[in-house]
Amino acid sequence: MPSGPFSGLTGPWYERAAAGRYTLLITISDRHLNRHGMVHGGMLMSLADNAHAGAAELQTGGVMVSTAALQCDFLGMAGCGWLEAVAWVNRKTSALIFTGAEIRAGGELIVTSTAICKIMGAK
């Protein structure tokens, strides 16, 4: 579960994990929006970042990871309401985990993302 001060500020978050896929949900409200009344790009990237970490940590036995690289492509927009991020692991090495993620709003794909996560403490 995303925790720590910044995730506490931006959440609450809801998660589930099944068959190696990590799902993270958040309700978008007014405080998450940009000037155009859409979810702010920074908030979408916060959701993506948390989802990548959640998927990676499914495979580390709870050892924390830190994001080394993140790419987000913005295919669409969303306003207030539920957002669902699904993330998965593409490859795990001794120190790095390569992950993918998608964010949907009402079933519509709005963000595709990849990340490289570093396993904290790994050499």
Binding site: L33, H40, M43, D49, S66, M120
Partner: protein, 144 residues
């Protein structure tokens, strides 16, 4: 060795409210007009910005990145009718609570409807993050 620096002490002023509720919610952020006409931006990383490890949350940094990269896009376009299409970032070094993160973003290229923006983010003289963003004239927004 990183020394605590304050944005106001380095000549920054509070970023003018541009009407984004999210940035007001997670900020404040700062801007500084450079003598040669450019702009720099800064974020003082506060305890509320931390992740579980006690560093700045990656999403918090990406939120600052998004704000910073938007500014030259707005200026190049002459209005705020632009939307981010893609952003990529490398997290080069951890950012700690109390750090002042600064960036002076650049427009690498502007075509008819696409802008390429790049930024190197530093804490003192340490490069902590680099980012590139692709911006596009927002469809359906021009008439608002």
């Amino acid at each position: 060795m990183r020394e605590a620096a304050s944005a106001l002490g380095l000549g920054y002023r509070l970023l003018a409210d541009q009407g984004d509720p999210y940035l007001h919610f997670i900020g404040p952020f700062y801007e500084r007009h450079e003598p040669d006409g450019g702009f720099s931006y800064a974020c003082e990383v506060r305890p509320a910005h931390a992740n579980m490890a006690g560093n700045a949350h990656g999403g918090m940094l990406m939120s600052f990145v998004d704000m910073v990269m938007a500014q030259p896009a707005y200026m190049a376009q002459g209005n705020d009718q632009v939307t981010a299409v893609s952003t990529v970032a490398s997290f080069i070094a951890p950012v700690r609570i109390g750090d002042l993160v600064e960036c002076r973003p650049d427009v690498l290229r502007k075509t008819g409807d696409v802008l390429f923006v790049a930024g190197v983010f530093r804490v003192a003289d340490i490069c902590v993050l680099s980012a590139q963003s692709l911006w596009k004239l927002a469809p359906g927004m021009a008439s608002r």
